[in-house]
């Protein structure tokens, strides 16, 4: 990145600052060492691999940006289905909600990624392979080369993108169930009298749902949704388990000790990389906490809840 980074090994040896009295001090000699390591550090932290590492933070943010609305959509559909007056639809919604409750979510993550992948390849196998044979044979899952997703000859980018897409769908399915549960509860919490008033005004069921129930429910759903957002942030390291090159992958790669064969040899620094990730998550959850607090205040405005009442009294 910088012009002086051409020969990192020489950089590590070179002395930029020399303050003899400070170097002789047993307590403060690290100050000089620190200044002397700065040029090497600046090259190390801007190496090509590190730039990939910084981009992987964007991957995590991208996952959150796509998953959160997708899970909200899935959850909304699940909750609406569970409220349906048609029994099979209602069962479907309720099974979806209760399914994820008793089972550790990591099992769903591991399961869905393989199941979705095999499902997609099986369907493609029916379409493009001759005969479309049953692919689960003995200890193999075998489809013809044309049915592979992505194709073996595709570039590494498509393999990464496909893995990322599977992860997004898995996150949306699992978190959608949790969102559905929160929204289902919030819809039940909207005071019955409000819906009856709307019906008395002659609104149809769809109108009551759209104009009264949905706008009112958010304030009841917000504490639960805020909690889920925090959980979603803390679930992002699982991308690593799903085979996506995320921040955990790079922290392990870059932190592992590097011998003299590498451009930037160093010992085992994984502890420091993971400390960095920890700080990233702590800052992220703290900012979210503050943001959710502000949003709650805003949505409580004029609501018939304890929070809304407190706001009214403060203003009066």
């Amino acid at each position: 990145m910088f012009s002086y980074c051409a020969d990192p090994k020489a950089l590590a040896e070179s002395v930029w600052v020399s303050i003899p009295w400070l170097e002789d001090s047993r307590l403060l000699s690290w100050v000089v060492d620190f200044f002397n390591s700065l040029p090497w550090m600046s090259c190390y932290l801007t190496s090509a691999k590190h730039v990939d590492f910084y981009w992987s933070f964007v991957t995590v943010l991208l996952l959150l940006a796509i998953t959160a609305p997708a899970a909200l959509g899935m959850g909304f559909m699940g909750a609406t289905a569970a409220r349906s007056h048609v029994a099979p639809v209602s069962w479907l919604g309720k099974i979806y909600i209760w399914m994820v409750r008793g089972v550790p979510d990591i099992i769903f993550f591991l399961f869905f990624v393989i199941a979705l992948d095999q499902g997609i390849e099986y369907v493609k196998n029916l379409a493009v392979c001759d005969g479309g044979a049953w692919p689960w044979q003995g200890l193999e899952f075998r489809v013809c080369p044309e049915a592979k997703v992505p194709l073996a000859k595709s570039s590494a980018f498509w393999h990464q993108a496909y893995g990322f897409m599977l992860a997004v769908v898995t996150f949306a399915i699992v978190f959608g169930a949790f969102v559905a549960n929160v929204i289902y509860g919030a819809m039940l919490a909207v005071p019955r009298a409000q819906l009856e008033t709307a019906e008395a005004y002659g609104m149809s069921r769809a109108q009551v749902f759209r104009r009264i129930l949905v706008p009112q429910m958010w304030v009841y759903a917000l504490p639960g949704l805020g909690n889920l957002w925090m959980i979603l942030i803390k679930a992002t390291p699982l991308l690593f388990l799903l085979g996506v090159k995320d921040i955990v992958y790079f922290a392990r790669e870059l932190g592992g000790s590097k011998t003299q064969a590498y451009e930037y040899p160093h010992g085992d620094w994984r502890l420091w990389y993971f400390l960095g990730l920890m700080v990233f998550y702590l800052v992220f959850t703290r900012i979210s906490e503050i943001g959710i607090g502000k949003l709650t205040r805003k949505l409580s405005h004029g609501q018939a809840t304890a929070g809304g009442e407190a706001l009214r009294k403060a203003a009066a």
């Binding site: 089972v103 550790p104 979510d105 990591i106 591991l110 095999q118 200890l139 699992v174």
Partner: protein, 277 residues
């Protein structure tokens, strides 16, 4: 080499703790093998869950009290402890703990002539248990702290009117009421801590000699057979049973904590989602 199901249970029932057949099945996987080995792995999930919850309960009480202390020297560290463990992913905490424990001197530490061995701390049974213990203590402390703050004012005033103060008021009124109010939330914490134990062998802590938990073996079968539709539902089945068991045991405790109340004001346990920490 075909075994009856009972022979399989004898061979692999305690495989996860190193008793029985050493070699895992390599081909001709049967449903019975999958049920047995995954069930054997549940021993570790139970071990981590039960011990972390037991030890964590006491630390959680201490931290909840420290957070209510007026002295900032006591309150602030407790606040930070809860913030760090609740604000970061358990997954990262496992990695971090493992890397930190690996850095301990390999040969052990000599303090005042006593030799302390350190190699065992990087093993999952000790290191991961420590992380789970601290983690559940932080989450439970938050629950108990919230419960402590919502004790009805009238209860405390009544206690004072009876002449109770200090320790006596705490142990007879505040603590039981705190437990009663926090118990439904604490039940959920217990359930999801058991779920969190499945993360142990998927993070920093390696499994030695293929001795792992339920998910470790399920993953083994899914990798070997390329068929996720059998092993993962089996783990799911075991965990639904475990969830029902935890709900039952904690429900009994909840009944006891609420036994003096009329039936319509007792607090009920409701499952709330909180999957990953």
């Amino acid at each position: 080499m075909s075994m009856t199901c009972w022979e399989t249970v004898q061979a692999y029932g305690l495989r996860s703790i190193g008793i029985g057949e050493n070699l895992l099945p390599k081909s001709d996987f049967t449903i019975c093998q999958q049920f047995t080995l995954i069930g054997s792995g549940m021993i570790w999930n139970l071990y981590f869950g039960v011990l972390a919850l037991t030890f964590g309960f006491f630390l959680a009480n201490a931290i909840a009290l420290a957070r209510s202390a007026r002295n900032p020297l006591i309150r602030k560290p407790a606040d930070w402890f809860v913030f760090v463990f609740r604000g970061s992913p358990l997954f990262i905490q496992f990695f971090l703990a493992y890397e930190a424990l690996v850095l301990l001197p390999k040969g052990g530490i000599d303090i005042l002539g006593i030799h302390l061995d350190t190699s065992w701390t990087t093993r999952a049974w000790a290191g991961a248990l420590l992380v789970l213990f601290l983690n559940t203590a932080a989450y439970s402390a938050e629950i108990f702290h919230g419960a402590l703050k919502s004790i009805p004012k009238g209860d405390l005033e009544a206690a004072e009117a009876y002449g109770m103060t200090g320790w006596k008021k705490f142990i007879r009124i505040e603590w039981p009421t705190m437990l009663r109010l926090g118990w439904p939330a604490y039940t959920n914490e217990a359930i999801f801590l058991f779920h969190a134990t499945t993360l142990v062998y998927f993070s920093g802590f390696p499994a030695f000699a293929q001795k792992g938990d339920a998910l470790y073996y399920a993953n083994y079968f899914a990798d070997k057979t390329f068929n996720p539709f059998i092993p993962y539902p089996i783990v799911g089945f075991y965990f639904i049973c475990l969830t029902l068991l935890v709900t039952f045991v904690y429900g009994r405790v909840n009944r006891r904590l609420n036994r003096h109340l009329p039936s319509n004001v007792r607090s009920k346990i409701r499952l709330r989602p909180q999957l990953i920490r």
